[in-house]
Amino acid sequence: MSGTPAEVVLEVRNLSKSYRAGHLRARLRPALKDLSLTVRRGEIFGYLGPNGSGKTTTLKILMGLVFPDSGSATILGAPLEDLSWKYRAGYLPEQPYFYDYLTAREYLDYVGRLCGLPVSVRRERCARLLELVGLGHSTDVPLRRFSKGMLQRVGLAQALVNDPDLVILDEPMSGLDPLGRRLVRDIILDLRRQAKTVFFSTHILSDAETLCDRVAVLRAGSLVATGHLSEILNLDVSHYEVLATGGDLDPLGGWPPGVRGHEVLGERVRLEVAEEALLPALEHLRDRRGRVLSVNPIRQSLEDFFLAEVAPREGAWELQD
């Protein structure tokens, strides 16, 4: 992106929330601590953190389902208490439960009515969205007969029923098979092409790496890092991964200095090679009549970041999400 910064569509300022735990000797357990973040128009923003880190609590506060102890937020320029922004936003809750006596079409129609959509728009949009999420053949089946993955798809469709400018998704890939996850990824990318903003929580790091422009990482209710992936991660190549096969590849000896690790995978050998040792390592492979299958530059991944920054304090995660 270039030029002036895009309009802020979501701004969270110093949000804190504690839950009461226990009955007789109730104590407060902090779920969110002084959270501040900003999401701009057109971004796909990933909200990351392990289970219990406060992601869902944040989204529920934004949606008006739970109330913060302190702090404030604006969505699409309006304070949370104002209903006006809800006409322009869509939300998929985590593990959604819908009225099982309704069909998918009836449910979407109901949500459309709450958004004030006229009948003709509702009819067209319900059919189109159910087709989009792969439920075109199940529009008139009661939701009680839907699988978990199908309900997740209904949840995504209802989040889009008002053609929202901002889509907030809580663990959108949850309960989906690989095809479903691919579908959700495609829908999120398509929303970006339409200049919509997507704010989604996940603990599946590969999804975030594939989709997000910016991310925020949460640990035990506190923000650990926020920004573009390039700002959070060290994207310099740390080493190369070389996969080779054939020839006389003795994994135990003769490798030039800089080959840090080697591992036999069936008939293949996987090598971890420092940048300065790449050419000697490839020449060594050629001399041994080995065949190079792939050479991949390795950068720090979100998973590496998580393992380094978040995992060591796992004991502090026991909070209500």
Partner: protein, 259 residues
């Protein structure tokens, strides 16, 4: 362009109506009510002169009992069940205020009860026609009183439903309805417990809704007139108590966390 508050209330109400008519418990209760009305026909055979009174009495009692059960058992689940199942989450993320949700639920179940009472009234009239009786408009006044009482039961059920679980809400609502049907006992409490403070007796008497006010069955069955002024008064009474119950429910739900 957004929907008005009324549009949203009507959307919730129509969905609640759809939900209730798809509830199996409703049909069970309606079938029992019809069976009880028909049993009045059999009982009337036992009496030569009182047959019409018996049919009316049993028919109105069936509407009262089963209407109350429908209002209670469906009413207590309308909010608490949705909180437990989290089905409110996607709805409240829409431009829907919590008070609109409550009013929509109230209106939806109120309409279901109206349809049920209408069907049962038609059944009662058919039963009367079957025994050779003509149309009797007075009967509608008793049904109207019943309906007001049922609306108040729904309001109370919704109130308890926002405060506690379905089971506890059912117990509380049932207790209040029973107490309200024996309000004379509350007023005469000092005869039974001489030491009971007068202020407490008065407080209980006025705090517990007097469901006897809505009961015009005896007057209609015995052919006594039911004055319009009396109906107007109980309408105001039901509106006032219903408004208080729904306001308390709204206050309880307004700042409730829905985790």
């Amino acid at each position: 362009m957004g929907a008005s508050g009324l549009t949203r209330i009507l959307a919730v109400a129509s969905n609640t109506y759809r939900e209730t008519v798809r509830e199996r418990v409703l049909y069970n209760l309606v079938v029992f009510a019809f069976l009880m009305t028909l049993s009045g026909l059999l009982l009337s055979e036992l009496s030569i002169r009182e047959d019409e009174k018996i049919v009316k009495d049993v028919g109105l009692a069936a509407m009262d009992i089963f209407g109350t059960l429908i209002a209670l058992f469906i009413g207590v689940g309308l909010v608490s069940k949705e909180i437990d199942r989290r089905s409110l989450h996607p709805l409240l993320s829409r431009p829907l205020r919590r008070r609109e949700l409550l009013l929509g639920k109230f209106a939806g179940l109120g309409f279901t009860l109206l349809v049920n009472l209408g069907a049962m009234t038609a059944g009662l009239y058919l039963t009367l026609f079957a025994t050779g009786r003509g149309p009797e408009p007075q009967l509608l006044k008793a049904v109207y009183g019943l309906y007001l009482g049922l609306l108040l039961v729904v309001a109370l059920a919704l109130l308890f439903s926002t405060l506690t679980s379905s089971v506890l809400a059912a117990v509380c609502t049932f207790s209040l309805v029973v107490a309200g049907r024996f309000s004379d006992v509350i007023r005469g409490m000092q005869d039974v417990i001489p030491g009971a403070p007068t202020w407490l007796v008065r407080l209980l008497y006025f705090a517990v809704p007097n469901f006897r006010n809505f009961d015009f069955k005896a007057q209609v069955v015995y052919g006594d007139p039911v004055p319009w002024a009396g109906l107007a008064w109980v309408t105001l009474y039901a509106a006032a108590y219903g408004a208080v119950a729904l306001s308390l429910a709204e206050a309880a739900l307004r700042h409730k966390d829905l985790p």
